[in-house]
Structures are given as structure tokens and as C-alpha cells.
Amino acid sequence: MLWKRLLPVLMLALLLTVVACADSGGETVEVTRLVEVTRIVETGAGEGEAAPAPVQVGAGEILQRVLDRGRVVCGARTDLAGFGYLDEAGNTIGFDVDLCRAVATALFNDPEAVEIVNLTAADRGPSLQTGEVDMLSRNVTWTSSRDAQWGNFTLITFYDGQGFLVPADTDIFEIEDLDGATVCVTTGTTTQLNLSDAFRQRGLEYTDVSFEDTATVYSTYEGGGCDAATSDKSQLAAIQSGLENPDAHRILDITISKEPLTSAVPHGDDQWFDVVKTVIYVLINAEELGVTSGNVDEMMTSENVEVRRLLGQEGEFGQADLGLDADFAANVIRAVGNYGEIYDRYMGPDGHAFTLNRGLNNLWTEGGLIYAPPLR
């Protein structure tokens, strides 16, 4: 009979616990928000206080976190040849991954001071929003809404565009030649929307065969289930290299969308944002100035003042303000090479993954769009 007498008391205790949990649960959300607000105020106040001081600028929250941890947590992918994939030894390599390694080298003079987090397309936005990764370098198209929602986008490092993969022996050259065709596409991507826009604008008919799984899209295409497959050209090139007979397929010259790929950092730490951007400026300027991983040590004694400034031999271009070593650029170039070297490593004529004409991704001096602010 004891339990019967105790039952109401137990029930009440349980209820109180639940209510307490519910309350504390609700309050946790509130507290989190408060902290966020406080942080922004603090950062502002910190900068305001630091402004009178001559050189000393305290590192921002994310930068400080990265420095304390001793490595950069980098959101990437491990399944896209050329951009982020695994080599024979199981290391994550690729164009996107090398950008992370460049940032790690700038901070720690060690390209291995990175932690690669494999992210799916759906996870990449939230992981940046929540600050789970310090830097997102995962084949992300920069769009205005993502810029507003996800974080800060740095500098376009790869100008991609949506194209079509078709069997080589067909007489398809223009988008008009695809009137009435069946096109395979990954469901839920901007690619699917661009495809429908492109055909509608021109008054053309097509059949949309869409799968959620990218591998299914291309296995269906390869099996003849559709007349063309569409995606970003870089992805098509990567896929083509993996098809059973790559020469039996070709990528059309037409491009139906703008897909500027870039790395991004979470909102809220301008200094960290600047560090990542500056590292990318260095990579591009190094190619422009002809500084490569092979000749970086000889270039130390170059007479070109811009090269000397890049390598930290003369003057400075903001290293101290960002809290970086004077010769960080030399370290970066020595470890991962300049922009062109990174590109060629994976996608150049002897690229590890495939060969893709640089096209828009040439330096501006070569007729492309790759252009970075001057280092001074």
C-alpha cells in the first residue's frame, strides 16, 4: 500500500521535473540568443577600445578559436574528383581542400594542420551557420540568398557553369538540338531549376528524369536512360573521367548558368574573414607574379618590389594587422603552390583527376576572370 500513498507524490515530482526541464529548455534557447547578442556587442566594444591602440588588434572569436585549437576545421567533400576526393593512400586532396591547407599554412606553417569534415550538399549550409566548421570549401555556388543566410563568401576561386554531357556520336551541339530530349538531373539542386528555365526561355520541350542520388543520375545516363545529363561543367568533367568509356561522351560548349564557386566562413568574425580572403589573394597574386612553389626561395632575392612585398622581404601588406607572420605568403606558396599550380595539380593537362580547359579560370591577364586585389 505504500506505493499507492507515494504515487501522487511521485507523479508530482515527475511533473515538476518535466516542467523544470521544459522551462530550462525554453530558457536555454533564450540564453543562447542572449550570448549571441552579447558577443556582437563585445566584438564591437573590443574594436572600439582597440582602435586607439597603435598596432595591437585582438583576434576575433573564430580566429582565436582556430589559433587555440591549432588546426582549421574545414568543411569539404570527399567524393568529387578534382575538388575534394581521396587519393590512393586515403588522404583527402583536391582543389577545394588545398585552399583549406593554404589557410592552415598561413596560420601554422603546416599544411596538415587541417581537419577535413565531409559534408553533404544539404549539411553544408547549416554547418556554416552554426559555426561547426571554421571554413567551408566544398564546391559551393555563391548566391545572394546563401550569402545572406549561410555566412560570408570570400573570393570566387572557380568560375563554373551548368553544361550538358551527351554521347559523343550524337549531332547535338546547341541547346536547341536538345528539343524533345530526356535529360537526367539530380533532384533538388539549382541545376534542376536552371535546366527548366533554360528550356522554357527558348520554348523547348524536354523530359526531366531526376534522381536524388547523383550516382544514380549518371548510371542511368550511361545506360541510355536519358539523352543528356546536366550539372556544373566541372562536375561533368569529373564524372566523364569516371565513366566506363570517357571518349564516348563529350561536354557541350554551351553554358546555361553562372556558378561561381568559392569558400565561405561563418558570419560574425571579420578578422577571420579577412585572413581567409587574404590567403586567396596571395595565391592569385603569386601566379600573376610568377612565384611558384619551385622558385619561391630564389624569388626571395628578386628585384621586383611586388614579389619582395609578397614574400615579406620588403614593406608589408597587412600581415601584422591580421596577426600573420611577415613571411606567411612564402610559406603558403612553398607548401601548396600558387593558384595555377593548384588548378593544374588536379585539373590541368597532367591533372591528377581530369583535364579541364581553364577558360574563365585563367588569370585576367590571360583572358580569364581570376583577379585579386593588389597586395600592398
Binding site: G25, T189, T207, D208, V209, S210, F211, T220
Partner: protein, 398 residues
């Protein structure tokens, strides 16, 4: 203190203090547990709303009227990407209903045949049915769908090398293309004769059948009804003048067949997979139902001179139905819900379209709620209809 206790115990008739009165304890227990459940639900919902608000996720349904912007390849009603998300979702629902209803009819027919075959006295038939049921039931449906789509339908010839039956039908890895009939000149007049023929043949069949039962004379109700059913529209065809129905042949274009009616291989693979899988379960339900009817019923029927088939059809099966219907409802619900695996083989059903909308419009919570509610409504409708039927055929106890 004693006074307080006495004043409280006034409410308890038997003089037991309130906190020891079993009825009071039970009532308090009910109230407390109700508060706990409600409080927990409140906590969950508030947590979800707070989290949604904090992340800036919209919870409204306004976006359903926005332009969808993506294409769909299997559209029973007119659709193009400039139409709304709501329209796309409606197409998903129609596609789900199409594959589910067709699948239920076919799976039931196949399931009954296989179920009865498992009880057959013929060694070959019985064991073939055994092998079918045991194989299909023990392989996951998703694996089977991939098998049907990639290993069977994708291996059909390409469009250029389609298997054709004259101009009437074509079969390739993208679909089955059949000749369709479109309305032509004089269609309105002709369709009236068809309607009259159907009604007249139906009435004639019933009248003649009754007459035969009453008098025992041969009246050939089936033959007469068929003659009326076929003869009248034929006469109407010539009376209407022109050609009321025009055949629409599938013709091969630059890439695909156009015209006629199309059944995509995605749909075909899903239908075949669902029917074979569910039929294996229905077969077991049917077998159990038939075996539940006592052997004496069948023996009595045979001793009255009914053939084996008649005994099954008229005596055993109607009684077996009472056992069969309730688990059959579950199988129908399973088939409908399993059709959401269509997303894996590119058939735009409710769930696949819903997922696409989530990706394109970024409204995970509202779309999932909508999809869940829709499946719930479909399932409950099945249950209600079949329960009504079950009540009608169930054993009337006296």
C-alpha cells in the same frame, strides 16, 4: 490538525482519509498523467516553434502558390514548371494514388492465385508458389525496386532500337508506348449510343437472368448482353458519320516517342516491384484464411456434388474472407506507404515531389507535415472503406 483532517475526511464517504481513498488517488493519477503528457507535447511543439523561429524557418503554406520551377516527367494532368508548388504536389498525390490503386488490384489478384496455389494438390504448382513467396518475401523491397529498374527495365533496348508491334506499340528502356484513341468527328453522338448500350445490356442481363431463375428456361443472358453491348456502338459508329475515335499512334521523334499513351519504366518498375512484393504477403494471408475454414465445410460441399472449384468459390472462400479481410487491410496500407520508395527510382510520387519542394523552397516542416497528413488521410480512408466491407461480410451471430 485533527480538525482539518476531520473536515477533509468528510468528503470521503467511508471515512478513509482522502490521500488513501483509491478513487481519489485514481482520479489524481489520471489528471497528473494527462498534465504530464500535455506538458510534454507543449514542450515539444514550443521547442520546435522556437527553433524554427530562431533559424528563420518559415512555417506558413504561402509558398505553395509560388512557381515550382522544376520539371516532372510523369504527369497525369497538365503541368509545366511555371505552375505552382501546390500543383506539383497534387501531381505527386495523383501519381501515388495511381500506382497504389493499380498495385492493390493487381496484387490482390496475384496474391489470391498464389495463395490458393500454395494449397494446390499439384506438386509443381504448390512448390512454384512456395519458392515465389519465400524468395520475394525475404528480399527487401528497395533492393527489388533497384533490381527491376536497373537490371530489367534499363536493360531494354534503346529508343532507336525499340521493340515495336506495328505502329501500335513500342517498348524501350524509357517506357512503354501504346496507341491511344482521341475523340474525333461525331464523338458526342457516338458516345451516347455507347452509354445506352452499356445501360441496356446491364438491364437485359439482369432481367434475363431472373427470368431464367424463375422459370428454368434457357435465356442466354450473357450472349444477349454482349450482342447489345457491341452491336449498338457499332451501329452508332456508322450512324454518327465520320470517325468518332481517331487512333493516336506513338511516333518516334529525334529523341523519344511522342503521341499515344506512355507508361514510363520508372512507373512500370515501381508497379511490378510493389505488386510482386505485396502479392507474396497477400498469398500468405489468403492461405491462412482458407486453412482457417474447417475441412468439414469443403467435404460437405463436395459430397453435395459441387466441383472442387465450385466448393472453393461458393463455400470455402466466402467464409475465408472473414479471416482474410483484416490483415488484407494492412497489406493495402503497406503497399501504399511503400510506394514512397519511388524516390529511389525517379518516379515522382507524393514523397519524391515533396522532397524536391523541400530542397527548392526550403520549407521542410510544412511540407513534411503536409505529406504525412496526406498519407494519413489515404490510409484512414482505406481502413474505413474496408472495415465497412468487413462488417458486411462478417459472420452474423444470433
Amino acid at each position: 490538525m485533527t480538525q482539518l483532517r476531520r473536515s477533509l475526511s468528510r468528503y470521503s464517504e467511508s471515512g478513509i482519509p482522502l490521500w488513501r481513498d483509491i478513487r481519489v488517488i485514481q482520479a489524481v493519477g489520471q489528471i497528473v498523467s494527462a498534465i504530464i503528457v500535455l506538458g510534454f507535447l507543449y514542450f515539444l511543439i514550443r521547442n520546435m516553434l522556437d527553433a524554427a523561429a530562431a533559424r528563420g524557418l518559415g512555417l506558413g503554406y504561402d509558398f505553395l502558390s509560388n512557381s515550382a520551377g522544376f520539371g516532372l516527367d510523369d504527369t497525369p494532368i497538365e503541368y509545366d514548371p511555371s505552375m505552382s508548388f501546390g500543383r506539383a504536389l497534387l501531381i505527386g498525390l495523383l501519381n501515388t494514388l495511381r500506382v497504389a490503386l493499380l498495385g492493390i488490384v493487381l496484387a490482390t489478384a496475384l496474391g489470391i492465385v498464389v495463395g490458393l496455389s500454395r494449397l494446390s494438390t499439384n506438386w509443381l504448382v504448390r512448390n512454384l508458389a512456395n519458392v515465389y513467396v519465400e524468395t520475394i518475401r525475404n528480399v527487401p523491397l528497395l533492393v527489388q525496386l533497384f533490381f527491376w529498374f536497373f537490371a530489367v527495365f534499363q536493360q531494354l533496348p534503346s529508343v532507336a532500337n525499340s521493340i515495336t508491334v506495328g505502329p501500335f506499340a513500342a517498348l524501350n528502356q524509357r517506357g512503354i508506348y501504346l496507341v491511344a484513341l482521341r475523340r474525333g468527328e461525331g464523338f458526342a453522338g457516338w458516345i451516347i449510343t455507347v452509354a445506352v448500350a452499356i445501360a441496356l445490356s446491364f438491364v437485359l442481363y439482369i432481367l434475363l437472368h431472373r427470368y431464367r431463375l424463375r422459370t428454368g428456361r434457357r435465356t442466354y443472358p450473357f450472349i444477349v448482353a454482349m450482342l447489345v453491348l457491341l452491336g449498338l456502338p457499332l451501329a452508332g459508329w456508322f450512324l454518327a458519320g465520320g470517325s468518332p475515335l481517331v487512333p493516336d499512334f506513338p511516333t518516334v521523334g529525334r529523341f523519344n516517342y511522342t503521341g499515344g499513351t506512355t507508361v514510363t519504366t520508372n512507373f512500370a518498375a515501381l508497379l511490378v516491384g510493389l505488386v510482386l512484393y505485396t502479392a507474396a504477403f497477400i498469398a500468405e494471408v489468403v492461405r491462412a484464411g482458407v486453412q482457417a475454414v474447417s475441412k468439414g465445410q469443403r467435404e460437405a460441399a463436395r459430397s453435395l456434388g459441387l466441383s472442387g472449384l465450385q466448393a472453393m468459390r461458393l463455400i470455402v472462400f466466402p467464409q475465408a474472407l472473414r479471416v482474410i479481410i483484416p490483415p488484407l487491410i494492412s497489406q493495402y496500407l503497406n503497399l501504399t506507404k511503400n510506394s514512397s520508395l519511388a524516390v529511389a527510382i525517379g518516379y515522382p510520387d507524393l514523397f519524391a515531389v515533396g522532397k524536391t519542394i523541400i530542397d527548392q523552397a526550403g520549407r521542410a516542416v510544412p511540407v513534411f507535415v503536409l505529406v504525412m497528413v496526406t498519407y494519413l488521410i489515404i490510409s484512414l480512408t482505406y481502413s474505413i472503406l474496408l472495415n465497412i466491407y468487413n462488417r458486411r461480410i462478417s459472420f452474423v451471430e444470433r
